[in-house]
């Protein structure tokens, strides 16, 4: 065997590998254009489901849907609904609503947005056989129990409470008055759908057509979704950016590095390690922001466990947590301590509902704890695969242990899905981490899904008929003021029972590249794509 043959063999394999790898080379730049306007890139995560409004409940997907669709209403910074596609939403009794659509709205395929676009879309999402994840959002519309019965097959294909009056008007009949009906209409679940969707859902999934400021352009799995500006959009403001690339990252640290070096234009949550000593404010001088949003961090008691059944004990543990210390040590003072179960930024919230019970009061805590006769160590449980859950739970543990003089152990669960599993199976034997972010800005949306008896997210086994009753009364009150008063009353019941310890209201730290100007977050904690501008 001659050495030249070896050399040739090696050279051949090497060059073929190089040729192979050179195929499809070249870079995907970030500056495409729609009529010359610049494109921006925004941090995102791979959507869990196809891009359908009725089947999307997680942030990765809803962020993109919000660019592709416009709903009847939009939320302002205070969480109040403002008409978008709707011209008027009126009701004499909060139960029978007449919704009139503004003229001039079209879908991206050119077909007009009509009353039927909404009614058909809502009926589709609500119908049990379509198994959409947002179906429950329609549960207070008359006829929902026929299209989506708890047991068995649906007996109707459409809800009797929805009626098309003319092209631009439809009526909604609810099963009971709802003072907050308008506030729910901004959720992705209520977006309209064009006729083409019902004709061929599979083709629609491959190429979603909305009525929003941006139209769908392309999607590469695990890489990105790109959208371009829709010139015939019916909304008011002229949109400045020509298109958006939602770029998916497996790891937000890489995204952060990209924002600092101007390789990515926007990141709406700075990773925990860069919040330490406010490092991100140095890295992103003059291009970072900190804005509270309607979300809350809590720790929930496993009330199904007899050891935690006594409300006095739960109050004692709440008073044993030094919230200020957690916020200063873990969050660098970037968030505010919670003063009630309803986070700041939810319309109708009453300030400082909780008082001493949610304030660090070591003496009273110790006294009340000793009286409860609790024995054995306290366990705090959290998943540790995201955010800084481990850090603040550990800090809480230290503070409980120091105050009450009992050992406290932090128990990590590796992944969120494992943690959720154990929560739902009610196998957690310690106090576990919970959190709630408000996507529909009402107190009802904070109290009902988490704390009413048997609610889907109430895994602790908490039940109090008086609380349930107050929440229900609020939901069917005649006016929003009355409703808010009833819900505030319900919150006070909750504080006495203390099924969870509230820790802090949440706040978003975000950063952007030197290209962006007029950066604002929407109520839903996303970049406001309609107002942001680009400076080249």
């Amino acid at each position: 065997m001659r050495s030249t043959r070896v050399a040739a063999l090696l050279a051949l394999s090497l060059s073929s590998a190089l040729v192979l790898s050179a195929c499809g080379g070249g870079g995907g730049g970030t500056t495409g254009d729609a009529q010359g306007a610049p494109t921006i890139s925004v941090y995102g995560t791979e959507p869990e489901n196809a891009l359908l409004p009725g089947n999307t409940r997680e942030v990765g997907g809803s962020k993109i849907l919000d660019a592709l669709w416009s709903g009847l209403v939009d939320y302002n910074q205070q969480g109040e609904p403002e008409n978008a596609v709707a011209e008027s939403i009126e009701s004499p009794d909060s139960q029978n609503w007449t919704i009139r659509i503004e003229e001039g709205w079209t879908f991206h395929d050119g077909t007009p947005v009509t009353a039927t676009s909404f009614v058909d879309a809502w009926n589709f999402v609500a119908l049990k056989t379509n198994a959409q994840s947002s179906s429950d959002f329609f549960s207070n519309i008359a006829g929902f129990d026929q299209v989506n019965p708890a047991e068995g097959e649906p007996t109707a294909q459409a809800m009797s409470g929805l009626r098309v009056v003319d092209d631009r008007t439809f009526t909604v009949a609810l099963t009971a008055p709802s003072p907050i009906f308008v506030s729910t209409l901004g959720d992705v679940a209520f977006y309209p759908m064009p006729e083409s969707f019902f004709a061929d859902p599979a083709a629609f999934e491959a190429n979603p057509i909305g009525n929003g400021p941006f139209r769908y352009e392309a999607r590469v799995p695990d890489q990105n979704v790109t959208v371009t500006r829709f010139e015939e959009w019916g909304g008011e403001q002229p949109v400045s950016v020509g298109g958006v690339e939602f770029r998916f990252y497996a790891d937000s640290e890489a995204a952060y590095q990209d924002v600092v070096s101007g390789n990515l234009d926007f990141l709406e949550s700075i990773p925990g390690s860069f919040l330490i000593d406010n490092l991100y404010q140095q890295d992103l001088a003059d291009r970072n922001g900190n804005q509270p949003y309607a979300g809350i961090n809590t720790m929930t008691f496993p009330i199904y466990d007899q050891r935690y059944a006594d409300p006095q004990l739960r109050q004692a543990i709440s008073m044993a947590v030094d919230r200020e210390a957690i916020i200063n040590n873990v969050y660098n003072g970037l968030v505010q301590p919670a003063t009630g179960f309803v986070p700041e930024g939810v319309p109708g919230k009453v300030d400082d509902q909780c008082g001493e019970l949610c304030t660090f009061s070591p003496e009273r805590a110790k006294q009340q704890f000793d009286a409860s006769g609790f024995t054995g160590p306290i366990e705090l449980i959290s998943n540790v695969d995201s955010a800084i859950n481990r850090e603040w739970m550990q800090a809480a543990c230290v503070s409980i242990s120091n105050t009450l003089g009992v050992p406290c152990n932090f128990v990590p669960v590796p992944t969120f899905s494992e943690f959720l599993d154990q929560r739902r199976a009610e196998t957690l034997t310690g106090i576990y981490r919970t959190g709630w972010v408000v996507s529909t800005p009402t107190m009802d949306y904070v109290l009902r899904p988490q704390y009413t008896t048997g609610a889907a997210n109430n895994n602790s086994g908490y039940t109090n008929p008086r609380f349930d009753d107050l929440v229900d009364q609020g939901s069917t009150a005649a006016t929003a003021e009355e409703a808010n008063a009833l819900w505030a009353e319900a919150e006070r019941v909750l504080i006495q029972d203390m099924p969870s310890v509230v820790i802090n209201d949440q706040s978003a730290q975000f950063g952007w590249s030197p290209r962006l100007q007029n950066v604002e977050l929407t109520y839903g904690r996303e970049l406001d794509l309609e107002s942001v501008t680009v400076q080249e």
């Binding site: 080379g25 409940r57 799995p221 890489q223 990252y249 599993d421």
Partner: protein, 308 residues
């Protein structure tokens, strides 16, 4: 040699069946619900969960699921993940990037490693030898994620010489830094392996013979010595190529490279057994083939080795 290759290829079949089942079973046995993140923080409605379970066969036993999966796989259908994406598409998107990265890493470690090894092996105990010894010791001691993060933040963030992450469709130049990070550990091994081998063979009979025949030093070192000393290094590089193809999880994560490593990692986290098994099937095949190529290369390098 043809029979040898055929026999080796036939060995692929039981290995293939064994690994796919093991992987499928292990992912399936991981705690957690693969549908957990579907509806964000909130609970999904029962009708939605029921349909998903039915659609993905989660209501059947692991054996039925595996049999169905294998049946589809043999027809070339890699299946769909829980997000409704074709696994074949995901692999087709991710694989070229990973191959590029592995090739860059392999070239870097082969070129630098071999050169350093030959130079130091010829003068063991010299100044250069000590420098390389210290440098490789350092490389072996520092974990990949440290090298990765340090290079990323120093070169990318503070000095601005490179973009901190790699674009979706990277060219070879974009991959030099990640390729170096990925190959740095093996680079040290290659250098040391080559050095030892060269230093040993320097005193071998055939080297003395070649020198005695009056061959130039360049020819003695370049052809006789290096070629014979390359055998253990080639074994190592061959096995390493298999590892590089699948083991780039950390590096791909740091530089946001959309390759196989990230795909496996994300899919394990999401309990997406179909994706993990599909990718691992390919990796097993690549690994076995790389080893086969290594064994065949032996015979080319050293005529005394016969393959029967």
């Amino acid at each position: 040699m043809g029979r040898y290759v055929l026999r080796r290829l036939l060995q692929l079949v039981p290995v293939f069946l064994g690994t796919t089942f093991l992987i499928y079973f292990m992912v399936w046995a991981l705690p957690g619900d693969p549908l957990a993140g579907k509806c964000g923080d909130q609970a999904c409605p029962p009708a939605f969960i029921e349909r998903m379970r039915e659609e993905y066969g989660l209501d059947q036993s692991i054996f039925v699921q595996y049999a169905t999966y294998l049946g589809n796989l043999l027809q070339g259908d890699f299946g769909e993940n829980f997000r409704g994406q074709e696994v074949a598409t995901l692999i087709a998107n991710a694989y070229p990037v990973t191959i590029k990265l592995a090739v860059v890493a392999l070239v870097i470690q082969a070129v630098i490693g071999l050169a350093a090894g030959v130079l130091t092996g010829l003068r063991p105990g010299g100044f250069l030898d000590n420098v390389v010894l210290t440098a490789t010791l350092f490389l072996v001691a520092v974990p990949v994620f440290v090298t990765g993060y340090v290079l990323q933040s120093v070169l990318g963030l503070r000095l601005g010489l490179i973009p901190p992450t790699v674009p979706a469709d990277p060219g070879l130049l974009d991959l030099i830094v990640p390729g170096y990070v990925l190959g740095s550990l093996s680079l040290a091994y290659v250098a040391r392996l080559t050095r030892t081998s060269i230093a040993e063979n320097l005193r071998a009979d055939y080297v003395r013979t070649a020198t005695a025949k009056g061959l130039t030093r360049r020819r003695v070192v370049g052809v006789h010595l290096t070629r014979n000393s390359a055998i253990p290094v080639i074994t190592f590089l061959g096995a390493d190529f298999g590892t590089l193809m699948g083991g780039a999880i950390v590096t791909e994560g740091i530089f946001n490279i959309r390759g196989i490593g990230g795909l496996i990692f994300g899919s394990i986290q999401r309990l997406d057994g179909v994706v993990v098994t599909g990718v691992v099937v390919l990796l097993v095949i690549v690994y076995l083939l790389a080893n086969l190529v290594v064994d065949v290369t032996y015979a080319l390098l050293d005529p005394r080795i016969r393959l029967d």
